[in-house]
Amino acid sequence: MINYILRRVVTSVVLMIIISVVTFGVFFMVPKLAGTNPAELYVGKSATPADVAATARKLGLDQPVYVQYGRFVKGIVAGRDFNSGPSKTHCPAPCFGYSFRNDRPVFPLLLDRLPVTISLAIGASIIWLIGGVLAGVISALRRGSILDRSMMILALAGVSLPIYFTGLLAQLIFVHNLHWLPGGEYVNFRDNPIGWASKLLLGWITLALLYAATYARLTRATMLETVSEDYIRTARAKGLRERVVIGKHAMRSVLTPIVTIFGLDIGQLLGGAILTESVFGLPGIGRLSIDAVNTKDLPVVLGVTLFGALFIVVANFVVDLLYAVIDPRVRLA
């Protein structure tokens, strides 16, 4: 087991390194290929070529990519110093870079936004997990019934809904027309739990709708597959009550793929629910990333991308561990 964990850790770290290399390469090479100098993004409109060169020097953009990458990685591991004029600015580890737009280390910026994204992801995931799995199980057990068919058509409609459409629609109806929910800025849970929840509610529901649909379909499919397994027949042959057969024996197997995609989905979401956040105006990681992209704040973009990838990789890792907990065949392999 320890071995297994260690192996997964190594794999994850390697994965992260590759992702960082690729991301770094892409963001620093692509502008070059497209014929723009990233340093130009930082200087004013009227800056002279000398200014551009000086800025490039200051940002280290004149160095070969691998040197830049080396510094970047060093920053994550050990922190990094930046020339801030009269003195050096220390960006403590983990230093994902330094936003030259607003002169902040990227990492605290990310941490700042994280609670919003977490609030959104957790709230939505609770709704969709319960709703989706329940709907899927019921559908599978009532296979072929009107209920099943309508639920599955609904689910298919659900996965076909663009969140930026549902989000707008929901806001139009519930915020602007019916006034059931306040608009307003995101507030911290600690400051105002009710405000927090009511601001997030629509986001939770629309996001959950999308995922619940997927989960319902997945649950139903695996449930149907599972109930035709031999071991379910065995469970029935033992004289177990149907409730136990489904609730214990079948669910145990159904949960495995659910846990997998749940982990990955949460990982993706924590990396920034860009669309949801921009539709609902939630100042989370996704919004940060969009803003950073719009202002060409490459260190932030890079940071957010890596941060997002980190979440996914960590989620992958956790899923693998969970897998080992759930599935003894993996654990003992």
Partner: protein, 330 residues
């Protein structure tokens, strides 16, 4: 090849095939391929057929957009400023349902007064073009990588599988917008970049399926049989494996088209889609954000266009999967 006069060689008085194969209804059917069987099954799925019908309709609309537009719409980028109220920031007069009239079937776009109908049908062109090209790309890469990984196995498989994990571990949308936004936004180039990115990120889904299938097909004895009569890898991949992969590839391509449509629309929504004035549903929707309180039709129409299209593809893809995979759970 001649093997000389055939004598006994069988205990069976009548050739075994004489009474078989019989299928369900007892009628003999000559060479009924799996595809035909699937098609018969698909035909029975009304929702899938409806989805398929809509897809064909939509493709026709996209292809015939200029013609249709001539009859029912106005030139795609023609301004109709008389249809909007300049004092309200250029939205169509309040209460006119977004300017819907006999002349403007779906109303007009705020600010420019352009005919929304023509925007929508030309938007279908954009959406389908990008989604289909991206899907094609994804399928090609997915097949190549998936088959290679699945067929060769071993370290090749490990490498490619990790590679697919890697791509799936990217924060997709973020990476896409970040990348697209640093590239020059000219139309042709942007379409190419979007196709590359959407296709480049969606191929692992196909790749994984193909790999899994190839991995299990590889274990099937007919591959070994082919090898035992001297077939090379190339032949085995193309003649033995690929025909068997056709069904899952077809199904999953149909199923990634809708997600690619959504992806394209999302990118356009986030402002990194095809540049204006090329019509695009996603951009219309993002444009509508500014006006939706006063001109909800402008949001509803492109939103519904995306939704219905995606739904149609999903319905069809779902039905196709059920038809091609008898074990699937319907």
């Amino acid at each position: 090849m001649t093997l000389g006069p055939v004598t006994s060689s069988t205990d069976v008085a009548t050739p075994a095939g004489e009474e078989t194969p019989t299928i369900a209804d007892g009628k003999k059917i000559e060479g009924r391929s799996l595809g035909r069987i699937a098609w018969m099954r698909l035909k029975r799925d009304k929702l899938a057929m409806a989805g398929g019908g809509f897809i064909i309709f939509l493709i026709l609309v996209a292809i015939l957009a200029p013609l249709i537009n001539k009859v029912l719409g106005h030139p795609v980028n023609e301004y109709h400023q008389d249809k909007i109220d300049p004092n309200l920031g250029g939205i169509p007069p309040v209460g006119t349902w977004g300017g819907i009239s006999k002349d403007f079937l779906l109303g007009v776009q705020p600010v420019t007064g352009r005919d929304l109908f023509s925007q929508i049908i030309y938007g279908a062109q954009t959406s389908l073009l990008i989604a289909l090209l991206a899907t094609l790309l994804a399928v090609v890469i997915g097949i190549v990588v998936g088959v290679t990984a699945g067929y060769y196995g071993g370290w090749v498989d490990s490498l490619f599988s990790r590679f697919m994990d890697l791509i799936l571990a990217f924060p997709l949308i973020l990476f896409a917008i970040a990348l697209i936004s640093v590239l020059p936004p000219t139309k042709g180039f942007r379409i190419a970049v979007m196709v590359l990115i959407i296709g480049g990120f969606s191929w692992p889904y196909i790749g994984r399926i193909v790999r899994g299938q190839a991995l299990s097909l590889r274990e099937r004895e007919f591959v070994e049989a082919a090898r035992s009569v001297g077939a090379g890898s190339f032949r085995i991949i193309f003649r033995e494996l690929l025909p068997n992969l056709a069904a899952p590839i077809l199904v999953y391509s149909t199923l990634i088209i809708p997600s690619n449509i959504l992806f394209e629309a999302a990118l356009s929504f986030l402002g990194v889609g095809v540049p204006p004035p090329t019509p695009s549903w996603g951009r219309l929707l993002s444009d509508a954000v500014d006006y939706y309180e006063y001109d909800p039709m402008y949001m509803l129409i492109p939103g519904l266009a995306i939704f219905v299209t995606v739904l149609a593809f999903n319905l069809f893809g779902d039905g196709l999967r059920d038809a091609l995979d008898p074990k699937s759970n319907r």
